[in-house]
């Protein structure tokens, strides 16, 4: 029953789909650029950032990447613009702006 998810396309006949459309892979949501659903966009002011990392864990879309203990620029391909990170930042290093970019 286990099927490679990449082999399933919108032209796949019904017999070749997985049972109950089960997805046999992890992290598949990365493939789809859902950031385009956004209507507001967070802006990152690196100079105000103290790298306290309070913002990253509250992001529901894992769109604040952390490398070597430091947060970087937003992952705009997946950020939905919810504004939770702006509320979480104690140092005003995140500001929500209207629009997609």
């Amino acid at each position: 029953m286990r099927t490679e998810i990449e082999k399933i396309k919108e032209t796949t006949p019904h017999q070749d789909l997985t049972e109950g459309l089960m997805v046999f892979a992890g992290g598949t949501s990365k493939v789809v650029q859902t950031g385009e659903w956004r209507t507001n966009t967070p802006v990152f002011y690196a100079e105000k950032c103290k790298q306290c990392l309070l913002c990253a864990p509250v992001c529901p879309d894992s769109s604040i990447p952390i490398k070597e203990g430091k947060r970087g620029e937003f992952d705009y391909e997946h950020c939905k613009g919810c504004g939770i990170c702006e509320k979480a930042c104690p140092f005003g290093a995140i500001e929500m702006k209207g629009g997609v970019d």
Partner: protein, 393 residues
């Protein structure tokens, strides 16, 4: 060695649950199914089984928890009746579309209103298009036997669909009758251990269950689900055959009671079939060629098989313990008539409504129905369609 006992339908199903010992049972009490989680809890408290019982706050939650547990990889079960089933509505469809082989023991009770706690089939019939396999019992023995066959059907690779094991509220669930039980080991061997191929709590093999599906996929998924329901037909018969080998009791899609040369047939489901059989025996004494087709498997619907079994009769009375409120009878009436039409079986068919909200259905009622069928053929007196049996006028 078979064990002779005396049990109510609820006791019989609970006994079978103890023998099968499923992994998880979330349940919320509702009359007349309440005794089932109660008895199972007793078995667990007494150390006679080790099912994880989850006392939830509603049936919406019991079905959700059963779905979650099943998806996680646990053999799951719940019990309910009437409004409890109605509250599960959304989840019933999810259990089926996510292809989760869980089992529910449904103790049939009318759906409100008027509010009433007694038997009819409006709860089960209301869920007839949710994608569940539905198997109905005439008595405690059948409820017990059907439950033991439930998981082998549901979990079969060609099926992977949830199964509802139905018995009539109070009439079967609370009345104590003789029963033949099987040894624990025999039941355990027959049902076997649950070994799902794919499940959530499976380290290193991540899956997503029930993902959002865009229009390019959803229709194909529904077709696959329908195909599984069709395939369930042969699996149900295979499981019944295997069950007969260990129990000596024979099951199929339906029971044919004195049908061999029957001219007038009553098609009926559930406990009232017992009453109807008594009427048939009395009428046969008087030389009347009458018989009963007692439907056991309602989903998948054995349309062609029913049409074939009725094909040599002159007339059939289709008895619905449920009103559909659309002016053309009940669900069994519709589906059986459609089956006859598609198989080009041109016999007279009359749809009756009986036993709503626990109204008695007697041997005399059944005889009157057979009398009406006969008058229709021999005297040309057409009975009224969709009439209520035993209605005060």
């Amino acid at each position: 060695m078979a064990i002779k006992g005396r049990m109510s339908g609820n006791e019989a199903v609970s006994y079978a649950i103890r023998q099968v010992n499923p992994d998880v049972m979330p349940a919320f009490p509702i009359t007349p199914s309440t005794e089932i989680p109660q008895m199972v809890s007793n078995y667990i408290a007494n150390g006679e089984m080790d099912t994880e019982f989850i006392p939830v706050e509603s049936e919406h939650s019991s079905m959700s928890a059963a779905i979650g547990a099943e998806a996680a990889g646990a053999r799951s079960l719940t019990a309910t009746s009437s409004a409890g089933l109605a509250l599960m509505w959304e989840e019933l469809l999810l259990a089926a579309s996510n292809r989760l082989p869980l089992v529910m023991t449904l103790v049939n009770r009318t759906l409100s209103g008027p509010i009433n706690i007694n038997c009819d089939h409006s709860d089960g019939m209301g869920a007839r298009d949710t994608g569940w396999i539905q198997i109905y019992a005439e008595n405690n023995q059948e409820a017990y036997d059907n439950f033991i066959q439930a998981y082998p059907i549901a979990e079969h690779a060609k099926v992977h669909l949830p199964v509802m094991i139905c018995q009539d509220g109070f009439i079967t669930s609370h009345a104590v009758e003789n029963i033949t039980l099987m040894e624990d080991e025999l039941v355990k061997d027959f049902v076997g251990e649950y070994q799902p191929e794919e499940f959530l709590l499976n380290p290193g093999k991540p899956i997503a269950v029930g993902p959002y599906s865009v229009s390019n996929y959803a229709m194909e998924a529904k077709k696959n689900q329908e195909d599984a329901m069709v395939q369930a037909k042969e699996v149900i018969l295979q499981v019944a055959e295997a069950f007969e080998k260990i129990s000596g009791r024979k099951y199929g899609f339906f029971e044919e009671y004195r049908l061999e040369d029957a001219e007038y047939i009553m098609l009926i489901m559930g406990s009232a079939a017992g009453t109807a059989k008594e009427a048939v025996d009395e009428l046969r004494e008087k030389g009347k060629k009458v018989g009963i087709l007692k439907l056991r498997v309602f989903r998948p619907f054995p349309a062609e098989e029913i049409a074939k079994a009725l094909s040599k009769a002159k007339a059939v009375a289709i008895l619905d313990r449920c009103e559909s409120y659309h002016g053309t009878g009940g669900p069994l009436g519709e589906e059986v008539m459609a089956a006859l039409f598609r198989s080009k079986v041109s016999i007279e068919a009359v749809n009756y409504i009986y036993g709503l909200a626990g109204r008695d259905f007697t041997v005399d009622h059944a005889k009157e129905v057979f009398g009406e069928l006969e008058s229709m053929i021999t005297k040309g007196i057409r009975p009224e369609q969709f009439q209520y049996i035993g209605l005060r006028k």
